[in-house]
Structures are given as C-alpha cells and as structure tokens.
C-alpha cells in the first residue's frame, strides 16, 4: 500500500510540474507576458515598471525559476479588476464552488446509485427504459440549457426556488457556507441539480451495467442459496461490487465537474471561481486567468490522488497486492 501511494504521489507532482511548465511557456515564452500581466490600459512607463519587477529582462530559465518560486509562495500576479493578489481573489471564491461541486457530487451518487440499481434489477422493463431514456437526455443536452429549463420551471413558472445568487451563508472555520441555512439551501438546490445532471446520467449507466453484470455472478446465486434476503443481496453484495467502478469514474469526473461549474455558475449567478473566470475573460483580467489555470491543475492532480486512495481502500485486491505471496 505504501509503495502504491508513493508512486501515485510522485506521478502527481510530476504532472503539476509539467503543467506549470506549460503555463509558464504559454504566458512568458509564447505570448508577450506584458500583455498578460499588465492591464490593457497601462502606460508604457507602467509596463516598463512591471517588466522590471517581474524580471522579464532576465534569461528565460531564470524567469522560470522566479515563476516557480513565486508560485510556490502563492504569488501568481495581481488582479487588474480587484487590485488584489490573483491567488487571494480566487481563494475567496473557491469555497462557493466547492460547496456547489460537493453537493452536486452527493446528488449524483445519492440519486444515481439507487436509480441505476433499480434500472439494473428491472432490466429491459418499463422502469429501466424510462430511467435510461431520462439519463440519455440528461447526458446529451447542453448543460446550460438544462439550467435554463430548471430556472424556467422552478423559478419563473412555479416560483418555488430562487433563480440565482447564493443566499445566506454562515461562517464556519473561516469559510462561508451556505447549505447550513435554509435560505442558502434554497439557493443551492437548483444549481447543484444542474451541475449534477451530467454525472447523474453517468452514474446511472455505470450502476445499471454493474448491477446487471453482478446479478449474473455466481456469488449472487450462492447468496440466494444461503437464504439471504434480496435487500441484503442487493444492498451489500451487489452494491459493494459496483461501488468501485462508480467511485473511480465519478472521482475522475469530479475535476470536470469543477470545470463545468463555469457554466452553472454563470446561469445561476453563483459567486464561485467559475463565474470569476468568465468575468475575468470578459474583463481581460489575465492574472486571474493564469491563477485559475494553475489552481485547477493542482486541484485535478489532487483529486486523482485522492481517488487512488479511495480505490485502494475499497478494493482489497489492490490494497493487499503487495502483501500477498
């Protein structure tokens, strides 16, 4: 187990390093870094000042070293719009996005697993076809349009839920969390469902396929021969077997969920890093874009690493591979 983890950690570090290099090259070597890092309306004097401050007259390798040094200290430039370090700007909005993403993940798994199980147990019957049909729709229709429809139905027509914004938050351990208040929850539901829909479809299909396959296995037959109740057979034997592929895929997709938050946050005016990115693109606040990139890459790598951990914990065959003869 330990060697496995060390291996994975090493790979993670390598990936971050590779991406940092790419971003550096993209900003400093290909584009004119001044354009990226100075405000578009900066005077030539300001530009010269920034150029000196950032050491752009230094050889490239030295610039790279400074870049890495700065990055490790959290200095990824200064936002034009907010006039604060880009890193801080992003960090302030990160909890909102994470709250959204985790809620969406929870919804996708909490709804998707049972639905997929149900569809798998009733394979080829009406229930199965209905669930699969729904999942296809959730999967192929554009995310933003689904969000729009949610707003149209639940906010405009039915008036049950608010159409945007975050609502009340409570400060817990220095983080502003919304789901702890009723108002915050009301604002959280629609965007979380919207973000969850794609993944929900994926989870349903995986769970269904896994269930169908598991039900044909000998161990299910043996469990029935033991006289176990169907609830136990499905809830313990089948579920544990399908958890593994579901968790792996979903975990890997969590990163893309954070990326897709861009769309959901725009539709629902959710103050997270996704909305920040779009605003920054429109306002040409490039340091924030760079900071967002670096953060996202690190997040991705971290997520993959955590998934590897969970995988090892869930599948005893992986965990014990090294300890076996």
């Amino acid at each position: 187990m330990l060697t496995y983890l060390i291996q994975r950690f090493g790979q993670a570090v390598l990936t971050v390093a590779a991406m940092a290099t790419l971003v550096f090259l993209g900003v400093y070597a290909i584009a004119d870094p001044i354009d990226v890092l100075a405000a578009p309306d900066a005077t030539p004097d300001e530009r010269a000042q920034i150029s000196r401050r950032l050491g752009l007259d230094q050889p490239l390798w030295m610039q790279f070293a400074t870049f890495v040094w700065r990055a490790l200290h959290g200095d990824l430039g200064r936002s034009f719009v907010y006039n604060e370090p880009a890193f801080t700007v992003i960090l302030q909005r990160l909890p909102a996005t994470l709250e959204l993403a985790f809620t969406a993940l929870f919804i996708a798994i909490a709804l998707g697993l049972p639905l997929g199980l149900w569809a798998g147990l009733r394979a080829e019957k009406a229930t199965d076809k209905a669930i699969m049909g729904g999942s296809i729709l959730a999967f192929s229709l554009p995310n933003f349009w689904q969000g729009l429809m949610l707003v149209l139905i639940f906010s405009v027509t039915l008036g049950w839920l608010p159409a945007g914004g975050r609502g009340e938050t409570v400060r817990v351990l220095g983080l502003d969390l919304g789901f702890l208040t009723l108002d915050g929850l009301r604002h959280l539901i629609l965007p979380a469902v919207n973000l969850a829909l794609f993944k929900l479809a994926v989870v349903i299909r995986l769970a269904r396929a896994g269930t169908r396959e598991a039900m044909l296995q000998d161990y299910v037959r043996f469990a029935r021969a033991k006289g176990l109740r169907p609830a136990r057979i499905v809830g313990v034997h089948v579920l544990k077997n399908i958890l593994l592929p579901v968790v792996t895929v979903i975990g890997l997709e969590f990163g893309s969920m954070i990326a897709f938050a861009v769309v959901t946050e725009t539709v629902f005016a959710w103050p997270g890093i996704g909305k920040l990115l779009i605003d920054s693109i429109n306002r040409l606040d490039r340091p924030v874009i760079v900071a967002y990139l670096m953060l996202t890459v690190c997040l991705f790598v971290l997520i993959n690493f955590v998934i590897d951990l969970i995988y090892a914990a869930l599948d005893p065959r992986v965990r014990l591979a090294e300890t076996d003869a």
Partner: protein, 305 residues
C-alpha cells in the same frame, strides 16, 4: 520475363467491399433514426436557404424597428409582418434569428468536426505507423489532452485569442482531435498487419503513399463512429461557449448567443427569446444523437451479422 516490367507503378489501393445498401437498409429499420435523419435534413436545408426563406434579415440593422422589441409570439409588426416566434430586445424576428443562428451553429460544428477528424486521423495513423517513441509521445499528448475537460481547454484558448468564428473553430478542433487520433490509431495498429499493407510495404512505396493512400482509408470506420458522437458534442460546446460570451461574435450569433441574449428576459416572463432558440438547439442535438446512435449500431461489426 522480368517481373518488374509487368508490375504497375503502384497497385490499386485495397478497399473492402462497400456495403452501403445493406447498412442503409439496417439504418432505416429504426423509426427513431429515420425521424432524426428527416429532422437533420430539414434543418440543413432551412439553414442553407436561410437568406431566401426568412421573412426578415435579422442582421440588417435597417430592417429592424426597436419599437417592435420583445413582442410576444404571434404579434404583428407595423409593416404587416407576423412575428411567429416573437421578437428580441432589438426588434429582431426570432424565427429569422433562429434560422440564421442554426446556420452558424451548424457551419461551426460541422467544419470543426471535419477538420478535427482530418487532423486527428492523420496524427493517429502516423503514430500507429511510426511506432516507438513518436507513437509514445503522441499518445501521451492525447492522454494529457483527454484528461482535461474540453470546456476548460476551449475557454483558455478563446480567452487567449479573443472572439471570432475562426477562433471558435480552432478551439473546437483543439479539443476534439484527440478522440479521433486515439480511435484511428487503434484501428491502424490492426490494419497495418494485414496483407495488403505487407504487399504495399514490399513494393517499397513511399511512406506518405503507404500511410495516406493505403492505410488511412481503411481505418475510417472508427472515425465515423467517433464523429457521430462528436458532432453533437461540438454543437453543444459551441453553444455553451457562445452562451458564456466567449464564442462567436455578436455580429454572427449562433443559437447559444441568442439564448444568452434572452436569458435576462426569461426571468421577467418573456420566455420566447431564449426558449425557442433553445428548443431548436435541442431538436438538432437529439436528432444527431438518434442518427448517430443508429449509425453506430449499424456499423458495429460485432452487432451486424
């Protein structure tokens, strides 16, 4: 008798027998797929004939009357024109706007798919044929690219290069080529061991001819399969990017941009500015999915006899 004298310059490239008729028949056995195809053809025709069949040119500012802004569907203009689907904030007839929007959406996604398929196929086939380190490097690149969500890559590219139809196409191509490369490489690895490739190699044909005239055309099946899935993705992605405001410019709006423009009015009950372009978008995507799914089933060698 010298064999060399009787050999042609280059042999006719090997092509498996076309079975189009059988495939076509199998395709149409599904009514859903047939419906999808009808919708697609209708949409394509409408989009192509846009300038001639729309009641109004939505981008000719002179023909717009701001007084007609945000009129509900079915209302009439002063000039006696019926706004079947209502108008937007600038007084544009939604029906015309949607037709032109369809046009842009289709053009962008189809050209992006075509280019991505070509680029991806060439790279994939090259990688498969070269093997060794070139193959390893290229596939690493593919894996790296595929491990990042498409929307992120596209956003970053468009943030760097700005708005414009050509830039959107480039972004879409960048996001999609990897799927084609991977799919065709798998097929090419199998095909290059086949006898016709051995024969072509034995004749010491030039490398480019080997790859592009003999190998590539026989590896197209997976490309078609991937394309059927990716066209829908391309349309959805382009619409998403336009909705976010980083896609096509305001002067040539696609369906995504139309939806974006109407979003604010959605909340005040003027649903038609967003909803109708949205429905058009959904109809096209669903139709493509129906056709694509059926095509995939028909072309799948394991399912057909």
């Amino acid at each position: 008798m010298t064999p060399a004298a009787t050999l042609p310059e280059e042999p006719v490239p090997y092509r498996a027998d076309p079975v189009w008729r059988a495939h076509a028949r199998a395709f149409f056995r599904s009514p859903a797929a047939g419906l999808g195809l009808v919708i697609l053809v209708a949409v394509a025709l409408v989009a192509a004939l846009a300038p001639w069949i729309t009641p109004q040119d939505p981008y000719d500012l002179a023909s717009l009357d701001v007084m007609d802004g945000t009129q509900p569907p079915g209302s009439r203009s002063f000039a006696g024109l019926t706004y079947w689907l209502g108008t937007d904030a600038q007084g544009r007839d939604m029906l015309s706007a949607i037709v032109y929007g369809l046009r842009v959406s289709l053009v962008v996604s189809l050209s992006a798919t075509l280019i991505a398929a070509s680029v991806g196929s060439c790279i994939g086939v090259l990688a498969a044929n070269a093997g060794g380190r070139l193959d390893a490097v290229l596939m690493r690149l593919v894996d790296l690219q595929l491990s990042f969500p498409a929307i992120l890559i596209a956003l970053v590219l468009l943030a760097a290069f700005g708005r414009g139809i050509d830039k959107v196409v480039i972004a879409l191509v960048t996001v999609q080529w990897a799927y084609y490369a991977r799919a065709i490489r798998a097929q090419a690895l199998v095909e290059r061991r086949r006898e016709y490739m051995e024969a072509a190699r034995a004749l010491a044909l030039p490398r480019t001819s080997l790859i592009f005239r003999h190998l590539l055309p026989n590896c197209l099946a997976p490309v078609i399969v991937v394309a059927t899935m990716q066209v829908a993705h391309a349309i959805a992605l382009e619409a998403t990017l336009s909705f976010l405001g980083v896609g096509v410019p305001v002067t040539e709006p696609s369906l995504g941009l139309l939806i974006k423009n109407g979003y604010d009015y959605l909340l005040s009950g003027k649903y038609w500015i967003s909803t109708f372009p949205g429905l058009a978008l959904v109809a096209v995507i669903v139709a493509i999915n129906l056709v694509g799914d059926r095509l995939r089933d028909v072309l799948n060698p394991r399912l057909s006899a």
